[in-house]
Point group: none
Chain length 416, copies 2
């Protein structure tokens, strides 16, 4: 762990502090549009971006700085957490976000620095052995009722307040909220899921001294839940995974001097923005509704993160045509954003999700950055192949925020 923190410290001192020292404020507006899973791969020679009808993106690309960015490292496929953290300017290897936190954020829980977040499964136990790790994938409605029952019966264990949040089918999340902020390794506890059926559940063993207290509470929680659920046929036990504390991060405003608004209909993405203290009002509706909200709030913030989810979803489904169609749909709405005339407009993704692969991938993500201070004239359209000709080249995603600040004239000169 020492080495890890040392590296953190070095990077913080050298780069994040450098940027922080150069930050200056002005009235500029920066809009970052994240088309989730944007990057693709060719099917019959054309990628999703090639196949989509994108006259507005193409026009913008011609006059923008274009390139491709690599979220984590060459060959590494990012999850949504690392992908977004890199876009927000936080090194995704240094600031790793536990799976428990992502689950909690996705279920609209508010994660504080006093919390241990855990993702849980209902499971079936018989004679001390796990006979079904997913409790027969019980219906979401039933799972919700059980979770509400747990919340009403188990409110506190030792000094930890408990917050339950129902999820889909057998899944839910729980937060153990302590009275004071927790240390970085306070949730270093192994998963209790034995991974194989017919085995006993594992004990939530502490992997660090400071995790002992959380471990004891987790054990009591498992027993208390079993006491409440013991007469259930299927969901009579829980398995706990991904114990995590919120990483210690500078807020977005501390790091970049920007008052930021996150506009995202899927809770997890707003949740990720909330981890760096962006404002993240709960929003529902279409991409057009998101853009309306952007217009409404345009005078109140410096920085806007607008998240478009469906492009990724169709990529994950392997539905090339629908992924392309969602890109075309965004392209039709794009003029509404351009009309706002932000000082810096960035359009990109958090990672690639080629329909060909039906999954996130490691491929660099195309990006365009529009501002009065770009070279431009290098790309004929907005596509993976054209972006390779662009002035931004192939670069680590965490450099995007310094680029945005620079083009917004929000970074002073370095040195005399």
């Amino acid at each position: 762990m020492l080495e890890k923190f040392f590296f953190f410290a070095v990077k913080f001192i050298i780069m994040q502090k450098l940027i922080k020292n150069l930050v200056q404020k002005n009235n500029s507006k920066i809009v970052l549009v994240v088309l989730d899973g944007l990057g693709g791969l060719p099917v019959n020679g054309k990628t999703e971006l090639d196949a989509a009808a994108t006259p507005n993106l193409d026009k913008l690309a011609k006059e923008s700085a274009c390139g491709l960015h690599i979220p984590v490292d060459v060959g590494i496929t990012p999850g949504s957490g690392p992908g977004h953290f890199a876009l927000f300017g936080y090194d995704p290897i240094e600031y790793q976000i536990g799976r428990g936190i992502l689950e909690a954020l996705g279920l609209r829980l508010d994660v504080k620095n006093t919390d241990v977040s855990v993702r849980c499964n209902y499971a079936t136990i018989k004679d001390s052995l796990i006979v079904d790790r997913r409790a027969g994938r019980i219906p979401t409605e039933q799972s919700k009722k059980l979770t509400e029952k747990l919340q009403s019966r188990i409110k506190k264990i030792n000094e930890a307040e408990l917050i339950f949040a129902p999820g889909m089918e057998h899944r839910f999340a729980v937060i153990l909220r302590f009275p004071e902020p927790l240390e970085a390794d306070a949730a270093a506890i192994n998963d209790t899921d034995p991974q194989l059926e017919g085995k006993p559940p594992l004990y939530p063993s502490p992997l660090s001294k400071s995790a002992e207290r959380v471990s004891l509470i987790a054990e009591k929680l498992i027993n208390a839940v079993h006491e409440v659920l013991k007469d259930e046929k299927q969901a009579n036990f829980i398995l706990m995974r991904g114990f995590s504390v919120k990483p210690k991060l500078p807020t977005f405003e501390e790091a970049f001097g920007l008052k930021a608004l996150a506009i995202a209909t899927y809770p997890m993405y707003g949740g990720l923005a909330k981890l760096v203290d962006m404002d993240t009002p709960a929003i529902k509706g279409s991409v057009e509704d998101e853009i309306k909200f952007l217009k409404q709030k345009y005078n109140d913030y410096d920085f806007f993160f607008l998240h478009v989810k469906k492009i990724d979803s169709y990529g994950e489904d392997g539905n090339f045509a629908e992924k392309a169609a969602r890109i075309s749909e965004f392209d039709e709405l794009l003029p509404q954003i351009i009309e706002l005339n932000p000082d810096v407009l960035i359009i990109t993704g958090d990672h690639s999700t080629p329909a060909l692969m039906k999954s996130h991938s490691w491929h660099p993500v195309p990006v365009l950055l529009k501002s009065p201070y770009v070279l431009g004239g290098l790309c004929n359209s907005f596509s993976e192949r054209e972006c390779y000709k662009g002035e931004l080249g192939l670069f680590p995603t965490i450099k995007l925020m310094p680029l945005a600040l620079a083009h917004a004239k929000r970074l002073k000169k370095f040195g005399a």
Copy 2:
């Protein structure tokens, strides 16, 4: 030195461990073809790759991910050790391979973690002064006899077993094999070669506490050799250089989860692969024989390193036409590799050896990576200039292994 080791630890923990944690196994096959010294420079406007007839490489380049990689760092000319270690995914600055080891590997010695490897010269000493540092470059045959004589007379000094291996002319290697693994600085001993004739040989002084014992044995060895050879006219003494222990490395299988076979007719390259525990059977013959061997063993391994030497040799000779001819020759054989249809096929070099320079050089090395999951369509042929247009861009060579694993679907997603 502290910083160096500390940095080592950090890098190991953060990146190598990251990859190791993401590695998953499947049945994919990865073939890495190393055309030694591939990269070149233009003579009359064309590089060796431009001048060579390469219809098969050109076709492959059109549908592959292409780019250029930098083995050590910008402007740094790599030796064969660093060049190959970088290709194998090991940071060549962190894992430095001593010259004694390279010499021993080139002479088909097996280097263990209990060994100190040293490259030696026969020399002529008179009145305690070195009068010929190369013993008149005695014929290889004579040198071989002397080395065999040394081996028969000097088998052990203190606890160290001695293994001699004859080389070309005045050169040979010796290994001091200890009963137990050695510490990283156990061979921190200065060369005994005074570099100038007319000077006395230097004492093999220890530069660290743990090198003292090796130093004493080296001194005894020098005296014992002189006792055996004292009546020789020319080769009556030895100079020792490049004392080295095997660096502590994770094996290739530990690092990447791949069962690997090295196919190389020149012993040093198989030896480099053996340092990371690839299987390295002794092989003789032409490039076509190497490819035959690849076919024979194709079902038994996950990863194949196939080394083609002659391209570099002609580069070193400054023979542009022959270097290009050897590239053309490989191109004719390439369909035999393509027929195997590996999941990932990489064709590249370990460094550039422009015939124009008659030496290794620092120039980035062209690479193509063929897999179903590439963008492709960016390069018209396989050449230095075309590779600059490719999707891999200009990147550190050590990123090639993560890329290979990613394209073979052998890396899990990072973060949720």
